[in-house]
Amino acid sequence: MQHPFIPRGEGEEAQMLEAIGVSSFETLLAPIPQHVRLGRWLDLPEPQSEYQIARQFEALAALNDVPSRFTSFLGAGAYDHFVPAAVDHLSFRSEFYTAYTPYQAEVGQGTLTTIFEFQSMLAELTGMDLANASLYDGASALAEAALLAASVTGKSKIVVAGPLHPNYLQVLETYCRGQGIEVLCDPSADGVINRGWVRDSLPGAAAVVAQSPNFFGLVEDVSGVFADARSQDAKAIQVFLPHALPLYKTPADMGADLAVGEGLALGSPPSFGGPALGLFTTKLEYARHIPGRLVGETVDRNGKRAFVMTLRTREQDIRREKATSNICTNQALLALRATIYMSMLGPQGMRDVAEQCLEKAHYLAERLASVKGFALPYKGTFFQEFVVQTPRPAWEMIAEARARGVLPGVDLARFPGLQTGTNRMLVCVTEKHTRADLDGLVEVMREAVRG
């Protein structure tokens, strides 16, 4: 019997070989030198049925801390927002799910139209002129923005102002190192941007990068450093948080030339961080320099509105080594999920979610700070995440909370580059948390202090 994935009936192979005009399948392999052939089975288990696989995978999944058993306050770049059921239902339709990149526009209008809608929503949310069809994740979107800035300015220094997600910084450094671009970080930054340091570092820079809300959750007015950047002919790159945008000034308001972010939480669960959704937006003047796919509106032969991938001569399959980026496959399905998500929530839902994150985070911060030994080390204004100082090493508090079914936050000691010591934790709140969840965390922390 054939494997269920392979539709080859009895006797068909012989019939096909006859049509090909060879006596055996082996003849077709003649160009492969014998000695490079494997000549044995791969050392892998035998084929397994669906229910065998389900049993193994369910066992592996059960080794992870699943949401049904744990209340989580983890953020740090991955956010657990509510996802309406219709998002899964629609995005798992075969028509979207098993289609390729819509190079044949005539049979890809479904995907092309949704990408156009995605680009439109992103542009609205950020205030920027245009968004591309997606990149791999927020970190590589930042790296691509930096490479674009270096390319259009002809300069090779990137200045990182204030606290940037340490993983983003690492990806930025990886991408820049290849092209000999220097990445400069502020060793003196304490929670927020040190504008003096940025000014001193700007001469010769291709771009200044500022994350807001920053890695510690603090919302910064980045318009000042962006103005400083402009005065030195450097580009301004903001790393933004899509869920904060209904309440806060947009990257465009701040004067950003490029604005990038992580869109995973727009309609997808945390997914252990991937597949994620790199958001990339910019001004119209850079349209011909952007990485990745872009969908534009046009008309077909009969004058009917149609959507196509456009400004294709930027891309690798046409421009090869002169392409603006090597990216080909992107995160289209995640972009579709974000589009459905934003359609479902609408302007009111997006605002409700943002307000609840804001209110609940402040409720929790205030109560946590009142627990003996706890404090809020940064005084700046924040959105849904904040740093707490813990009376004992954060990893101890986290381990004790975990034993009580709570994942209270991210231990900042995991990022030695931050130099924030052992007693700090980054706590994140979303609209999904109830008052009982928040009070529960405070109670667990109180117990953990008592030991």
């Binding site: 049509a19 492969i32 030198p33 490079v36 791969l42 892998l44 288990p45 397994q48 696989i53 193994q56 059960a62 989580s72 740090a76 509510f82 239902h89 629609l90 798992f92 075969s94 028509e95 098993t98 289609a99 390729y100 044949q104 049979v107 479904g110 949704t114 809608e117 245009l130 968004a131 590589s140 690492q170 990806v171 990886t174 190192r177 290849g178 919302v219 007015d221 309440l247 806060y248 669960p269 252990f272 961080g273 597949p275 349209a287 509106e297 046009t298 077909d300 456009t310 690798q316 980026s325 990216i327 080909c328 496959t329 359609s343 929530l345 609408g346 209110e359 204004t381 994942l407 008052r435």
Partner: protein, 487 residues
């Protein structure tokens, strides 16, 4: 009537999702957001109810061609069937809802799964060290080029910045080389469609960092002198890199590590059946020989007895490529696929993919020109030179195929074949589908002989017909704007 945009379905006062009322004492946005940071103008997003959203996206979806509908012979893209059990496994809450910053003790199941996948891919490729971080093939290529550079630098060999690439290569190859700050050097193919060894020798030297090769190559034939190629590149001090896009021809049959490759990437969304999703997500793990392992992206997955951890501190590493651990849910699907097929099933995949391609080639060769004769591996390239003389080009044939319910082949690639139609049937297609495709291709050729204009004007039945691409680029409209489209 064109499909409306979701914005054009907006009705003020409607919404698609309910957010529960705030259950903590609220202070109000005005108290919590300083005036200088407050957003002035609300974003214009659609206001639509759930049924309107569901109908809108359902109606858009049916405008797409897709694998679950019919044949998708897109060469180089491996549009195989996507088994449904894989998606169910990826949707398990223990995977889908898992947070990437959870403590190590909270993520042991995910890491164990990644470990199993790494071991399986190491066995399949014959290259023992794996990074699952790269999010797609192109990012895998970039990772490998950075590894090549770091490797040579670690040996004090700063001059090696050239990467040799055949003229038949995928566009991502030279683009990835440029992105890694290196220089692509092109080598031409010979009359067989294979790499010209003399031309290769002429460009190898003390500046050679690596050779990027696709094998089987992009015309679908095996580089039979792969041994000599590897020897030449190694003798010149370069590394051999395999673009794994065509791995669907080799799984269980040939291991890249056994034919002289030092590193490669895999496209899990091609060879290992994870859904293409309309353009992504994919995953592009990189596999390298053991002495290149220290250069792999950090963090790397480490096993200590029964415990797994992500090792961040790696001095020789090229650095981090992904914000978190790569496209994890894609990895879950790929492992489920490998487990479903097992050793015998995986070997059968490449066997049937090669059989299907050769069958189509044999049946179409009398009608369409074949620049490089077979046997082919898992794909082949036809040339519509004869049809062009008769009045219809490769692109027209592709468009005409859409009228018959098939997707088009990859058109005008590889660049070394004039009027190229690159066809990859994969192992998923039954004989009946292949025969139906052959009949249609022969019928289109006959149609070109008697009425080329009808083919030139194709398609005739699709939702839109030959959209004006020049206009899209000239009058750039990349977002909906309230004023223009209202009413």
């Amino acid at each position: 009537m064109a499909e409306k945009l979701i914005f054009e379905r907006s009705r003020p006062g409607t919404r698609g999702a309910l957010i529960a009322p705030l259950d903590v004492p609220g202070k109000g946005v005005d108290a919590l957001v300083p005036p200088g940071l407050r957003r002035a103008v609300e974003p214009v997003l659609p206001e639509v109810s759930e049924p309107v959203v569901v109908r809108h996206f359902t109606n858009l979806s049916v405008l797409n061609h897709h694998v679950d509908k019919d044949f998708y012979p897109l060469g180089s893209c491996t549009m195989k069937y996507n088994p449904k059990i894989n998606d169910r496994m990826a949707a398990l809450p223990g995977f889908a809802s898992l947070h990437p910053m959870a403590p190590e003790a909270s993520i042991q199941g995910a890491l164990a799964l990644m470990w199993e996948l790494e071991r399986a891919l190491a066995e399949i490729t014959g290259l023992p060290a794996i990074s699952l971080q790269p999010a797609a093939g192109a990012q895998g290529e970039l990772t490998a080029m950075l590894i090549a550079r770091a490797y040579h630098r670690s040996r004090g060999d700063e001059a090696r910045v050239e990467v040799v690439i055949p003229d038949s290569a995928h566009g991502t190859n030279p683009a990835s080389v440029a992105m890694a700050g290196m220089k692509a050097v092109e080598v031409k193919s010979n009359a067989e469609g294979r790499l010209d060894l003399e031309a290769l020798q002429a460009v190898l030297g003390p500046r050679t960092a690596a050779m990027m090769l696709t094998n089987p190559n992009t015309v679908g034939i095996f580089e039979r002198r792969i041994d000599e190629i590897a020897k030449l590149v190694h003798a010149a001090g370069g590394l051999m890199y395999l673009d794994g896009a065509n791995m669907n021809a080799l799984v269980g049959l040939v291991r890249p590590g056994d034919m002289g490759f030092d590193m490669m990437h895999l496209n899990l969304h091609k060879t290992f059946s994870t859904p293409h999703g309309g353009g992504g997500p994919g995953a592009g793990p990189v596999a390298v020989r053991s002495d290149l392992a220290p250069f792999l992206p950090a963090p790397t997955l480490v096993r200590d007895g029964d415990l797994y951890r992500l090792e961040e501190n790696r001095l020789m590493s090229v650095g981090r490529m992904h914000g978190f651990a790569g496209n994890f849910l894609v990895l879950v699907r790929a492992l489920a696929y490998i487990r479903s097929l097992g050793a015998s099933g995986l070997a059968e995949v490449s066997h049937q993919a090669i059989l299907n391609a050769n069958y189509l080639l044999a049946r179409l060769a009398p009608t369409y020109a074949v620049k490089y004769p077979g046997p082919c591996m898992h794909e082949f390239v036809l040339s519509a030179v004869k049809q062009k003389k008769q009045g219809a080009r490769a692109a027209d044939i592709s468009k005409r195929l859409l009228d018959y319910g098939f997707h088009a082949p990859t058109t005008y690639f590889p660049l070394i074949v004039e009027e190229a139609l690159m066809i990859e049937p994969t192992e998923s297609e039954p004989l009946g589908t292949l025969d139906r495709f052959v009949e249609v291709m022969i019928e289109i050729a006959a149609e070109i002989e008697r009425d080329p204009e009808n083919v030139r004007n194709a398609p005739h039945t699709t939702p839109v017909i030959r959209p004006d691409e020049a206009r899209a680029a000239r009058q750039l409209r990349v977002k909906w704007t309230p004023t223009r489209n209202d009413g």
